[in-house]
Amino acid sequence: MPPFDGGQLNRLLVRLQRGDGGALDGVLAVAGKRMLALAQGILGNRADAEDAVQESFLKIARSVHGFRIDTNGYAWVMRIVRNTALDMLRKRKRRAEENIDEFFSLTDGSYSEEGLAEAVALERAVARLQPDERKIIYYRYYLDFTVRDIARETGASKSAVQRTLDRAEKQLKIFLGAGQNPRE
């Protein structure tokens, strides 16, 4: 499978802005799995997550003309999915507010056999992080936010975000590698 290409997503969004409906199929092919992963993590099950992704595509179609080509298209799409999933969650009143601690649950359901062991290891490694580190990893690697975006979103300073990110990345690599935890 070719590596994820963020530029390709931006080009598809430009085609959408020009009214090319076929580009929606492209967005689904390029980012569909990640959109589903994000929604599933928030909503907790695949059926609801697919509804959220479906709804997100409607929102993308409605609002794509407001998308600025010089910005991060992937982050723009993922924000829509995240907000849609959180809205659905609030409507059901199962949880009053976002709880990203329950985010990492992709491998519970219909995850493919291939790469399952690595995926489970990654989930476990993320689960071992401190809550503030986990949150920064979530913004950086799931939502593709820049450090500046994360600082804006969380109200923390850029340097504080960068320090936490560095620490979280270092910890994750240790957990994923030797399986040792220097905190233990």
Binding site: R11, G21, D25, A37, V53, Y111, L116, A119, Y141, T146
Partner: protein, 262 residues
């Protein structure tokens, strides 16, 4: 300095990035019906078109009101003051419309008479206003063979994938758009190429900047290093006017791209 900071911000840890990519891609693709979203997109496009038409009608009304105001107030005042009898001045036999610039006038092209077919459409359009319909190479070659000849080398190349769209503006085919992805090891690139089909009669305003590119060996080109990629804008004329935006991690990407066309 800002660029360095931005680059650092954009850079993720490679090992973790790879781990997360594997994690996301192992999930099954969602089963989604895009029919409603496509209908929504079409509805949004129609609403915008309607809005443009309404604003065009309002502009026309405003222009008409201005003409009336000029005709019934300013012009009589001017005639009365000059004491002239301009209504009896004959039109030039060479210019029955009376619109030709006077000697010494710079001849603003916006005053030039237009053919009836051009009256109803603005020759300068926005890429947002076009309708793009995806077409195969074969379909387009059947209708626009001379323009599509330039893509024969791309089509024959095993490293390259190309998707085409036909752009229409108010029902007129104005451009062919080609999205090209080249995955060669040497200098992979992605590109969008716009081929003008109107012989310059219609111009996309977003592409106007291409005419100012520095010239080099028969084509205009400018390359910028943006983040981890080189972004090149290229403009040339061969089988129609062509505008390309090429992204490549290699500085040679734009040249490899041009080798397909020149």
């Amino acid at each position: 300095m800002n660029n360095v900071i931005n680059m650092m911000e954009e850079k993720k840890d490679e090992q973790l990035q790879k781990a997360f990519e594997g994690y996301f891609d192992g999930n099954e693709a969602p089963k989604i019906d895009l029919g409603r979203a496509k209908a929504e997109l079409e509805g949004a496009r129609r609403r915008r078109q309607r809005g443009r038409r309404i604003s065009a009608v309002l502009s026309a009304c405003a222009a008409f009101a201005l003409v009336l105001a000029l005709t019934f107030t300013v012009l009589p005042m001017f005639l009365a003051r000059s004491g002239g009898d301009m209504s009896q001045a004959p039109a030039s036999p060479d210019d029955p419309t009376g619109l030709a610039p006077a000697p010494g006038d710079n001849g603003d092209v916006s005053n030039a008479p237009q053919s009836p077919s051009e009256d109803s459409r603005n020759p300068v359009y926005s890429l947002f206003a076009v309708t793009a319909e995806e077409k195969s190479y074969k379909e387009l070659r059947g209708t626009f063979s001379s323009y599509m000849n330039d893509f024969a080398a791309i089509e024959a190349d095993g490293f390259t994938v190309c998707r085409y769209s036909l752009y229409t503006y108010d029902g007129v085919a104005v451009m062919i758009g080609a999205e090209i992805t080249n995955r060669s090891d040497e200098a992979p690139f992605t590109a969008i190429v716009y081929t003008d089909l109107s012989g310059g009669r219609y111009k996309a305003k977003e592409l106007a900047k291409y005419s100012e590119l520095p010239q080099e060996s028969g084509y205009g080109i400018s390359t910028e290093h943006k983040g981890i990629e080189y972004l090149s804008l290229i403009h040339w004329r061969k089988n129609g006017e062509k505008y390309a935006e090429v992204s490549s991690p290699s500085e040679a990407g734009a040249q490899v791209f041009m080798n397909y066309f020149l």
